[in-house]
């Protein structure tokens, strides 16, 4: 089925391409404000993804710096076959991988608090057990959330949400960032992180489930 965007028939892809072209022209013309804005825009997400490959926050910060340096150098050659966003994350993952190897990190990305047999997404005591009337059905079901966006609008709530994301295992933060914060497609994320579609989805689900659980507690405590 056709998907049309609300703004007069231009597809989402065409609009992004247009904005990218404008930004690229500004950067190539030496527009420092545009560059500073770009750095600010992507800092947090780049760092979260970097952090999944290296051992400390400080090193992740360095990887991000190296990424921008490489982007500056590569600006002239960038042909816009990908979006600027994808291009930046590709540079980042390359930088992060080689930095991770230099740190002699031998554990591959995917097995880091990722998809392998872990505790389930929802605490087992939330469900009925064998011997109960309805094994596997909710014992303590989720309570409906009333107007969650409004309740998350306050400064305090938003800070809480930021902290909840920061508390996720690094691999889950990386996948959540790329899929849900930055809106990249599943295939793209698999390519960037060398993950199978199945693994990537499990990691994303665990991340979302933890955020959901955190928000559930938060809503209950602040009701």
């Amino acid at each position: 089925m056709e998907r049309t965007s609300p703004s007069g028939g231009m597809s989402v892809d065409a609009r992004v391409e247009g904005r990218d072209a404008t930004l690229l022209a500004a950067l190539r013309a030496g527009d420092e404000a545009a560059f500073a804005a770009l750095v600010t825009r992507y800092h947090a997400s780049l760092k979260r993804v970097a952090r999944a490959y290296v051992s400390t926050d400080a090193v992740a910060e360095e990887v991000v710096q190296d990424t921008w340096m490489a982007a500056i150098r590569g600006l002239d050659r960038f042909e816009q076959r990908a979006t600027i966003k994808t291009w930046l994350f590709r540079i980042l993952t390359n930088q992060a991988k080689s930095r991770g190897m230099r740190e002699r990190r031998t554990v591959p990305f995917a097995s880091l608090a990722g998809a392998d047999g872990e505790e389930p997404s929802v605490a087992p005591d939330r469900f009925q057990r064998d011997g109960d009337t309805w094994p596997g059905h909710w014992a303590i079901p989720p309570r409906p959330w009333q107007d969650p966006e409004r309740r998350l609008a306050s400064l305090e709530a938003r800070e809480h949400l930021r902290a909840a994301i920061a508390a996720l295992p690094p691999t889950q933060q990386a996948v959540l960032t790329l899929r849900d914060v930055e809106g990249l497609e599943s295939e793209e994320v698999c390519g960037l992180l060398d993950l199978s579609a199945g693994n990537q989805r499990v990691i994303l689900h665990r991340a979302r489930a933890r955020v959901r659980a955190d928000l559930e507690r938060y809503f209950e405590e602040t009701a």
Binding site: V64, I72, F127, R143, P144, R158
Partner: protein
């Protein structure tokens, strides 16, 4: 189990696969049969969707000022180096 179905505990692991449209048809049938009668799992699914949505609006930490300055300096040096066309 003598009855072929997906129950809540299983669906709790499948919500993202369901939202991605990545579920094999055989499982999708069972999941839809379950969702048709389980308002709790529909709530859970909605909460997973909401969680995925709100993280995009979470505050983002900014680059440290010295780091940003250094990068802008490098950017300036690089573009000046090449000179105007």
């Amino acid at each position: 189990m003598s009855v072929d179905e997906v129950v809540c505990r299983e669906f709790a692991e499948l919500a993202t696969e369901y939202l991605d449209g990545a579920m094999p048809d055989e499982t999708l049938e069972l999941v839809e049969e379950h969702l048709a009668m389980c308002d709790w799992c529909r709530d859970y699914l909605g909460q997973i969707e909401t969680s995925a949505r709100v993280v995009a609006d979470a505050p983002q930490t900014a680059p440290p000022a010295p780091a940003l300055e250094a990068l802008v300096g490098a950017f300036r040096a690089h573009t000046t180096e090449d000179g105007p066309p």
